[in-house]
């Protein structure tokens, strides 16, 4: 009779043991939120890539976009690469607008203005930041021989994610909101014959945090 609950308890314990902890903080500053969502307009999420020592990961941008569309399918998020290619060379790291006022200069180019109108871009969200590996400790040795192989040791490291999203209103050419999210987590890898990675989903937590805040801004349902 007790086998079912014991098995469930073991499963819960093993899940709890194999997932490391993540602490996430979100700061929001919004000036002019659309009251009824963005209607049939679209939003584009772009990563900042002009810093020399890091660049906002394309998969993080994709993750935030997916998070928004999966929670509110009425919001159309334009794929970053598709947008950047369609508007080449105006959104490359060297040429991308750094301030909302720069959009005016861009729209003076007739083909750019036409393409923007075609895409119905209402909001442009610039995400700047990265997830970086922090301190690491521990050691692990692995060996292989005729009878088999295995590892022994323990390793731990921390990851820190820090991202800031600036929301530009494309029609009024002004910044209407800013969201900042930071997440930190410690991952572990004990190894007794087989290494068992217990990874802290730091980037995933940052993606969810930022995605939720952007959803509140863009969606009429949140």
């Amino acid at each position: 009779m007790m086998r079912g609950p014991v098995r469930t308890l073991l499963l819960v314990c093993s899940i709890a043991l194999t997932s490391a902890c993540v602490t996430s903080t979100v700061d929001e500053m919004v000036f002019n939120e659309p009251l009824e969502g963005i209607g049939d307009s679209s939003v584009v999420i772009l990563g900042r890539r002009h810093a020399s020592d890091y660049e906002t990961e394309p998969d993080f941008i994709e993750c935030v976009g997916d998070h928004i569309t999966s929670h509110d399918q009425s919001i159309r998020v334009i794929n970053e690469l598709e947008f950047v290619n369609a508007l080449y060379p105006w959104f490359e790291p060297r040429t991308a607008p750094l301030r909302p006022e720069d959009i005016e200069r861009l729209l003076r180019q007739k083909p750019v203005a036409q393409k923007m109108a075609e895409l119905k871009t209402e909001y442009m969200i610039w995400i700047d930041g990265a997830t970086v590996r922090g301190d690491s400790a521990g050691s692990m040795t692995c060996a292989i021989g005729p009878g088999g192989g295995g590892c022994f040791g323990f390793g731990t490291w921390s990851d820190d994610a820090n991202y800031e999203a600036a929301i530009w209103d494309f029609t009024d050419r002004i910044e209407v909101g800013r969201v900042n999210t930071s997440a930190t987590g410690q991952s572990y890898m004990p190894a007794v014959v087989i290494p068992i990675p217990i990874i802290a989903p730091v980037q995933g937590a940052a993606c969810d945090g930022l995605g939720n805040q952007l959803l509140e801004f863009l969606s009429s349902e949140y």
């Binding site: 020399s52 020592d53 890091y54 660049e55 990961e57 290619n85 369609a86 508007l87 080449y88 060379p89 105006w90 490359e92 790291p93 060297r94 040429t95 180019q109 007739k110 083909p111 750019v112 393409k115 990265a130």
Partner: protein, 223 residues
Amino acid sequence: MSRSMISAPERGNLRHVFGIAVVLFTLGGCGPEQVVVKGKFPPPLMEPLPLNIGLWYGDDFAHHEFFDEAKSRTDSSWVVKTGEAQVQMWDTLLAGMFDNVVQMKGKPGPGQMNQAVDAVLIPHVDELQYAIPTHTNIKVYEIWMRYRFELVTSSGDPIAQWTMSAYGKTPTAFLQSDQAAVNLAAVMALRDAGANFATTFTRVPALQSWLQQRWRPAEEVIP
């Protein structure tokens, strides 16, 4: 009864094939890391300039490659071949930048019969540098290039010459080989070269007097 036309290799042959494979594998490990840059380049979104431009790619440009010899036993040598991707990117960019782009039959020079154009553009890659995380301890792959452009008449008389730099980087990507990351950095550098060229062409100081003779921007035409 039909008989199979494929016969099983003999045991001696198998051993021979295995031996060759082992030797090739071992030698393969000694060779330089080779990257043949491949990518897709979008056409530029801009009003084409009303110019009829000829294009000449020298052999050094069309087959451009960069070789970096290993500095120590732990390093490996690198060959980065950018020629094919260079031609692909510049063909796409220039076709969208100018009203008409013509590939020249021969290198512009005295006595060389060529198509009639406003000017001929000859690009050169003067320098290429790369950095991978093992060089810099920064988890970024980088490619930096310095271009030199010559603008000449059909008969080879110089009109202008200027240089331009391009830079591309990509972060260390999980489960991505060094070669794939260097390729991506090179594609980014080529895109940057295209963006830099397209957005600064009309502002190159060396071109100003020639451009004023041939073409005036729309705002200057308006009275």
